[in-house]
């Protein structure tokens, strides 16, 4: 929905979101440093720099867990969790900066003031590349921050558009790779030095929650995708998607017309019906879970809008999604499963009006 790119298209929700985010980060760091300073005092105090390294490292990985929970939560409970997804990129970018602070502090504290540069120090001072338990865990941290850097650097919609949503999304799936790297980073690093069981327990619990959520969501989505949920197929290949009464006003029914087909969202608006592809051109959001607002189909994820009769975003925006042909026979709504090119004009079928067969 961008005709001219601005850094951030601010609105009240983004501001509230970012304030909550900032309060959480600052609150966490303050609590971590406060509790540390009360636990080890006097001559037993932990070095302030080490404390900052630990506070930022743990903060970043906690944030990453929350980020990785949002996708599945928003798919399992689309209505309630939508506001979290809406501004996830700010969460991601904030997390990147916290992780970057950790990385830079480590490079200064443990890597600088020596005979080689800090990055070389990280990579050459522990040579046990052949060992698992002794592996230089810093390498995993470096690899992860490089991935997160590319994600944060390309996070703006400008890049989303120029890289194409598919490439962009592939890049963003790198977050899972970064996550695995970071689990190794902590398991083979800090946990090797600590004696308390709290560390492996917390890390393990986080991983279990994330994996469970993702598995649940994946199973649910796969079930949905595998189901061809049409009531029947006419001789001409059109499919029977629903009864008119099944589709609520300003909402859609989503169907998979045939095995392997893209899902189609059939919207009811005014006295007519229109069908569009169920994939938002922004970040692939599920358009059929959206709503018609001010005459426009509105995506549930970030609010991109499309006109029902041609799948185009209203001017000055230029996004387009594929449209489909419909007809009504009695109470049944039939769909031609062959999509038109994105942005193609298809007049809505009027309800109650029999289209000629």
């Amino acid at each position: 929905m961008s005709n001219a790119y601005t850094w951030v298209q601010w609105n009240k929700h983004k501001k509230v979101y970012d304030v909550l985010l900032a309060v959480s980060v600052v609150g966490y760091l303050a609590v971590f440093i406060g509790v540390s300073s009360l636990t080890w005092t006097g001559d037993h105090a932990v070095s302030p720099m080490t404390l900052m390294i630990r506070a930022t490292g743990t903060c970043a990985i906690l944030m990453l867990h929350l980020i990785l929970m949002m996708g599945p939560l928003a798919r399992l409970w689309p209505i309630g969790f939508a506001p979290l997804l809406y501004n996830r990129r700010h969460f991601g970018v904030t997390m990147f900066f916290v992780a970057l602070t950790h990385s830079v502090l480590v490079l200064i504290w443990y890597g600088a003031f020596g005979s080689v540069n800090p990055v070389s120090a990280m990579l050459t001072m522990n040579t046990r590349y052949g060992s698992f338990i002794g592996f230089p865990f810093e390498l995993f941290g470096i690899a992860a921050i490089v991935i997160l850097f590319f994600m944060a650097a390309t996070s703006h919609d400008f890049w989303l558009k120029n890289l194409s949503p598919r490439w962009w999304k592939t890049l963003h799936m790198g977050v899972y790779f970064a996550y695995v790297l970071l689990i190794l980073h902590v398991a083979l690093g800090a946990i090797q030095g600590e004696r308390s069981v709290a560390y492996p327990v917390v890390l393990g619990a986080g991983a279990i929650v994330l994996i469970t959520l993702h598995l649940f969501t994946a199973v649910k989505e796969l079930r949905c995708d595998a189901r061809v949920d049409v009531a029947g197929t006419a001789d001409d290949g059109w499919v029977d998607v629903a009864s008119v009464d099944e589709i609520p006003m300003d909402r859609a029914k989503v169907v998979t017309p045939a095995k392997g087909c893209t899902k189609v969202a059939v919207f009811r608006h005014g006295d007519g019906l229109s069908a569009v592809a169920n994939v938002c051109s922004h970040q692939g959001g599920p358009i059929g879970e959206g709503k018609v607002i001010d005459g426009c189909i509105t995506c549930p994820w970030h609010g991109y809008q499309y006109l029902p009769h041609n799948g185009q975003s209203p001017p000055p925006y230029t996004e387009k999604i594929p449209t489909y042909e419909l007809r009504v026979e009695g109470k049944r709504v039939l769909l031609n499963p062959e999509p038109f090119a994105p942005g193609s004009q298809v007049d809505p079928v009027k309800i109650g009006e029999q289209s000629d067969v």
Binding site: H13, K14, S24, G27, V31, S36, T39, W40, D43, H44, V46, S47, M49, T50, R54, A55, T58, L62, I79, G80, F81, A82, P83, Y86, Y110, F113, G114, S115, A121, M122, M125, N126, T127, R128, I133, G134, L188, A190, Q192, G193, E194, R195, S196, A198, Y199, V202, V244, E246, I247, P248, M249, D250, R268, K291, I293, T298, P300, G303, I351, G352
Partner: protein, 255 residues
Amino acid sequence: MASKPDDAPFYVGYLPLPAAIRRFLLPWLVANFVLLIAVGVVIAQQQRDPGDGTWNTATPVTYEGVLTLDPYPLLRVTDAEETGGPLTVLPIEMGKRGSRERLAGLEGQRVRLTGFAIRRTGRVVLGLEAGDAAIEPLGPATPAITFAPVGLGTHTLIGEIVDPQCFMGAMKPGEGKPHKVCATLCIAGGIPPVFVVRDQAGNTVTYLLMTDAGESLPPSHYEYIADPLELTGRIQRQGDMLVLYADLSSFRRLE
């Protein structure tokens, strides 16, 4: 025929937040915040003891004694205030470097060194101040006092090679795998390696580590730094300091 409008709440970022969604999200946000803080408290509270080393970077101190350079620079002080007797000071440069270069030519000399002290369990590491005034040569030592060595036999010990600068208080904690890169950087930079043996109660004994030929730890053995290690060597007491002449072929990592 017209179906009734669906009034399920619907969120659009640029429109007001529906009350139902607010009611749904609020407890979740609060729970998240509580969880975040709880995890922070637990992790912070469970950190291991970083030791009781101190690093006074505010007030420089001065030690006078006899300097030896091989294999590592050591300043032998006969009547130190803190021990009331012999004290071996480990002079180093600030940063991750040994002091050999700056002390070159002063072998066997009486010198006065000024710097910032790092102290733990009776041992002193002295980070030399910048500038010529930090090193004051006082002429040849007469007599050449070195602490008379006392042999304590050959032993097999379990412990960890650390760099004394960080371990004694410059970085807390300055040991274990998270610190391996830094410790190796320090030792490769000329800071003398120290072998730390810890008893059940957590008390530590530190040994200055060298080869059985009395040479500095060779780079081939840097890979053992900061790992749990078993090694065998001759132990000597030299004044207040324990020196471990280790058999390089006896190094065995315990994992």
